[in-house]
Assembly symmetry: C2
Homo-oligomer: 300 residues x 2
């Protein structure tokens, strides 16, 4: 993988209440030379979602160091919270942002998984794109039983043999799911009608679960503004299912009801390549390479 | 100006033949902590165009240092080349790329002009967006007479009093034009016809010089492929005259001749914001801020 590639990592730690523990984890991660994008602690879930980005080497170090610190400070035998969890570090997904692809992030997940398994003595299960078996693709399947259930099953159930680390749960830190996935883009399209049924029908038509675009999850919802309804989407793979394709499909479906698209929004972060793909499509660009973007050169 | 803003600087030095001089200038610039994007020496012009980018402080240092080194190593009294020139450093334009605007680059040009005038004793004329008088907007007007002519006029002609530095030409380094402008985007649109007259008519319709878009220069030309002709454009201000507006205007004009747009290309570098603007337009994005682009966060 390109040494200057950019990888995002979003580990979830099972601590949402003790600020000194959260701070210690964040400091350990930051010290590895990555850029911290945010940390969202949730006291009810008793969990914190940390987001950071950096080059592959720094991200790898930071993921392992975060796991090391968290597994010392968090004890699953006394942990309580609303969110399902199986480890002090519960999940570590790697996401390709630029200069790398899914294969690179799968390789990174496996390296990190092996290092955590070996050096921290914590069982690691590879999930999503990094999964080694189809029944481990889905995180919910990997985590079934949570810490308390997996304590019994790892070491006795042949379906629960970890990909790395000991075939026995860590007594206080539990086990970890390490994986790779594409970045999510939260993309909402607003329709000029007060009829939420139109948004619901369109959402059903365009989402993968009911025959639409594979990389698109969609719901039709009302908004505070009574003259608008919304198709709210999670685009889970902007490379295979680009934003403009969902947008144009919504436009065409909406025409059938005589309803116009009156606006759209992207919520939160979006990789540059997702927007460049949109420009490339509508301008019918040929032979354009993303390193023609001046800012890409600066990052290299 | 934001300390992390990105500014581009494209100084032109009057040396295109002696590699050791070109190398010394480039090294002095690079040592100031900017990112070198390229250097294009031309032996016939006896001139080198150097392109670098960086934060405002580093770019400012690099511009002054480049001028200092060049003015020691280049002697205009013996310089010959096909390109008009008036100084060892001939022109220094600053271009806003991200986190800054034209006003910031005008201020930067003035600071650099003042520093060069004072410390290097070289007369400085502000041009383009940084010009202090309308007759200095156009670089060709500022440079009229070149080194040999300006040697006589500075100090005697009241229209040629420099903005900074002594009111007398530097005996060997001449004088310098320092200015600010928007980045150029070279954008070409291909039409599915063999008739170059269609491309020429459309170019005339859309360019600023004949009633079209102010920030668009355009020509209609033939291509190697006999089934295509091209509207080749320089977009000189993508903020006020965005790419999609030129594209859509070409599409509408071409429809009148029954000719389709069959592709387009961007030649060389393009600022990320120019492409984000395209995506924003076609997706009808509302409230989108460019710091939602993940890579922008990394650069900040």
């Amino acid at each position: 993988m390109d040494r200057n590639a950019v990888v995002e990592c979003i580990p979830n730690f099972s601590e949402g209440r003790r600020p000194e523990v959260i701070e210690a984890i964040i400091e350990a991660i930051r010290a590895c030379g990555v850029t911290m994008m945010g940390a969202a602690p949730d006291a009810d879930h008793n969990r914190v979602v940390v987001t950071f980005v950096g080059n592959p080497e720094a991200v790898k170090r930071a993921a392992v160091r975060g796991a090391e610190v968290a597994s010392k400070l968090i004890d699953l035998t006394t942990h309580k919270g609303n969110h399902p969890r199986m480890g002090a570090v519960d999940v570590i997904p790697f996401v390709p942002i630029s200069g790398c692809d899914m294969k690179d992030c799968v390789a990174l997940a496996r390296e990190v998984g092996e290092e955590i398994g070996t050096t921290l003595n914590i069982p690691v299960f590879l999930y999503e794109e990094a999964a080694t078996r189809p029944d481990r693709k889905n995180l919910a399947d990997v985590r079934r039983g949570e810490f308390e259930g997996l304590r019994e099953r790892i070491g006795t159930d042949s379906a629960r043999v970890p990909d790395y680390g000991p075939n026995a749960i860590h007594p206080t830190a539990g086990c970890i799911a390490v994986g790779a996935r594409m970045p999510l883009v939260a993309f909402n399209v607003n329709l000029g009608t007060s009829d939420v049924e139109v948004a619901k029908k369109i959402a059903k038509a365009i989402r993968g679960s009911s025959g639409g675009l594979v990389g698109c999850k969609a719901l039709g919802i009302t908004l505070a503004d009574p003259n608008r309804v919304q198709v709210t989407m999670n685009m889970v793979n902007y490379k295979d299912t680009p934003l403009h394709r969902a947008f144009e499909l919504i436009r065409i479906e909406a025409e059938r009801y005589g309803v116009p698209i009156v606006g759209s929004e992207i919520v939160g972060l979006v990789p540059m390549d997702a927007l460049i793909g949109v420009a490339r499509h509508y301008l019918r660009l040929e032979g354009f390479k993303s390193d023609q973007v001046l800012e890409k050169r600066l990052m290299g």
